[in-house]
């Protein structure tokens, strides 16, 4: 929790997000460990290759421990005039995006997310620096939220 405000009702991404992140980590770790191990194995000896491979797997597992906290850190809150998004464990961030400032909203889903029925919602303002995305939303929720935000944005639209 960063800024506590009793009036803010934080909503969390789907519990499936953790699984999606785990699968993604696994998909990255396995080939990296395999290739790293093979390269070390051919360059050095077989035990070295095995050691490097296992080491990379351990890194992946450690990253996995961290994932749960990262996923738990995501949250968003729809307030009356703006959307709040918070994220991050090591570097904590909390963004406030007024509905009237949203230029467009898109919903994307990578292969892993898609297989779990998840989607990422991304909000764009005229500022390149404002990064507001909510990953791991249920597909139906994401579509609903997108339409909702678009309607709110239209109602409160402001020029540059």
């Amino acid at each position: 929790m960063t800024v506590e405000d009793p009036g803010v009702r934080w909503q969390r991404p789907s519990h499936l997000l953790l699984r999606a992140r785990r699968i993604q980590t696994g998909l990255v770790t396995a080939p990296v460990a395999l290739i790293g191990g093979l390269i070390a194995g051919t360059a050095g000896s077989a035990p070295v290759g095995l050691g490097v491979g296992l080491g990379l797997v351990v890194v992946g597992l450690l990253w996995e421990r961290f994932l749960a906290r990262r996923v738990a850190a995501w949250g968003y809150a729809e307030r009356r005039d703006d959307l709040m998004v918070k994220r991050g464990v090591l570097i904590r961030r909390q963004s406030v995006i007024p509905y009237g400032r949203m230029q467009f909203i898109d919903v994307t889903a990578g292969p892993v997310e898609r297989s779990l029925g998840l989607a990422t919602l991304r909000m764009h303002t005229a500022a390149a620096a404002s990064d507001a995305r909510i990953p791991g939303l249920d597909k139906a929720d994401a579509a609903k939220l997108r339409d909702q935000l678009a309607t709110l944005g239209e109602a409160q639209a402001a020029g540059l």
Partner: protein
């Protein structure tokens, strides 16, 4: 054909116009000059061997470029109708572009060196979009370009309710074209010798000096001037960048006019821009270390939309300098002109921020009221940024691991574009939380006021 009668009824403006017949020459002029230089070098290099074939080839290339320019002129036409500027161009792939005048951020009149000789000028429309392909009308006669700009600006003004921000004596009423131009009020004029000094003492100047010293040293040590030939292109580039900066910023004059701030600058290539009131996204005063010793600073504004000069792409993160170099007093006067009551960053960061930012702690401060937020940062190059709350796109609260240990947090205010962020650095967590809690409402109120005005 290209002539624009002074008192032209809208119907006549709505007809199709061509650009000035000499415009292909001007548009390709830069390439022709570059080609000429290459030809000269080749002639010079082949002087002994007497190779004439290259010369003919280059002339053919030049002719092709010129013919392409003429064709492009033949198929290009423009029209103003229903508050929309239409530019049609393209022979094989027709390209018809519409620029709604209500979306125009600014209109510039640019004169390249060759255009100046011929009395022509280019009209550039800056739109809010992020890509740099705004509307270009190259070239028109200078007088026509200026008249057209005033007409377009007044058309662009009429439907929008935005009022000037802080330009005293310029109420936000739509201005008749004839009025514009006569009522300018001079605000700032850069002093050439100070500009030259400032550029020499800036980073660009330091690079150039280092390169020149290195070249001289190499020649002196080896005694063979030919050693530097491989580095020649690099050296020329560095010298050119100094020249370019001097060229663009030379003779900068800022004047307040009813339709916004008029900015004129340039030595060989002159530019005239009008920064429309209410379009300023952020104001920044930059004071590099060496400049501070002389009490100099630079005042830049961020206006929505891309910076269009293509040759300045390397200076992408540099903003439009209203004051390329000036005294602090001049900058503060200009600041007062741009913003009504600019707060000065006075609230220092807590002492423990020293651990996180040992150098920049010295200047870290912020201030805010219900209209603006001002934030200062940077040690070597002190930067003070003013962001109108009306323009804030999103607000971010950020806390890194070290900041968390020290009980600090930063708040960033994003404005349109990717260049400026108002950054209230390293505040006490409670204070940062309060800023984050209060700013969205203040920003919304400021926006609402802006819409009503």
């Amino acid at each position: 054909m290209n002539g624009l009668p002074a008192s032209r009824p809208p119907a006549e403006m709505a007809s199709w116009h061509r650009l000035h017949p000499l415009s292909p020459l001007v548009r390709t002029g830069r390439h022709l000059v570059g080609l000429g230089v290459v030809v000269l070098i080749l002639i010079f290099a082949n002087h002994s061997s007497g190779g004439g074939g290259n010369l003919i080839g280059d002339i053919v290339v030049a002719a092709v470029v010129l013919v392409a320019g003429v064709i492009s002129w033949l198929v290009t036409r423009w029209q103003v109708a229903d508050g929309v500027l239409r530019i049609d161009t393209g022979l094989i792939r027709r390209d018809s572009r519409r620029f709604p005048l209500s979306q125009v951020q600014a209109i510039d009149v640019v004169q390249t060196g060759l255009a100046r000789v011929l009395g022509l000028a280019e009209l550039r429309l800056r739109m809010a979009g992020a890509d740099s392909s705004g509307g270009r009308l190259a070239c028109l006669r200078l007088a026509d370009a200026e008249r057209l700009r005033e007409q377009l600006l007044s058309m662009a003004h009429a439907p929008t309710p935005t009022a000037p921000v802080g330009t005293a004596g310029a109420a936000g009423s739509p201005v008749a074209p004839s009025q514009v131009g006569g009522t300018e009020r001079m605000l700032f004029r850069v002093r050439s010798e100070r500009l030259a000094g400032a550029i020499i003492l800036s980073r660009t100047g330091a690079y150039a000096a280092a390169v020149i010293v290195a070249v001289v040293l190499i020649v002196a040590l080896t005694g063979k001037p030919s050693v530097i030939v491989p580095f020649l292109a690099f050296a020329i580039g560095v010298v050119l960048s100094v020249w370019r900066q001097f060229n663009t910023e030379f003779g900068t004059v800022v004047a307040a006019a009813p339709d916004g701030l008029r900015l004129r600058s340039g030595l060989v290539q002159t530019t005239a821009e009008t920064i429309r009131p209410g379009r300023v996204q952020a104001v920044r005063i930059v004071e590099p270390l060496i400049w501070r010793a002389f009490g100099w600073c630079r005042l830049e504004v961020d206006v929505a939309g891309p910076r269009q000069r293509r040759e300045n792409r390397s200076e992408g993160q540099r903003l439009r300098a209203l004051i390329p170099v000036g005294s602090r007093a001049e900058a503060e006067q200009m600041l007062g002109e741009l913003l009504k009551t600019p707060p000065m960053p006075s609230r220092r960061a807590p002492g423990r921020a020293r651990w996180k930012a040992p150098l920049s702690y010295h200047f870290l401060a912020w201030a805010g009221d219900d209209q603006y937020v001002a934030a200062a940062r940077g040690r070597v190059c002190r930067q003070t940024t003013w962001v109108p709350l009306e323009k804030v796109q999103s607000i971010r609260w950020v806390q890194g691991p070290l900041q968390r240990r020290l009980g600090l947090a930063s708040v960033r205010l994003d404005v349109a574009g990717k260049r400026v962020t108002g950054s209230v650095q390293d505040r006490d967590v409670a204070e940062a939380n309060e800023i984050l809690a209060r700013l969205p409402d203040l920003a919304r109120a400021a926006r609402a006021r802006g819409l009503v005005r």
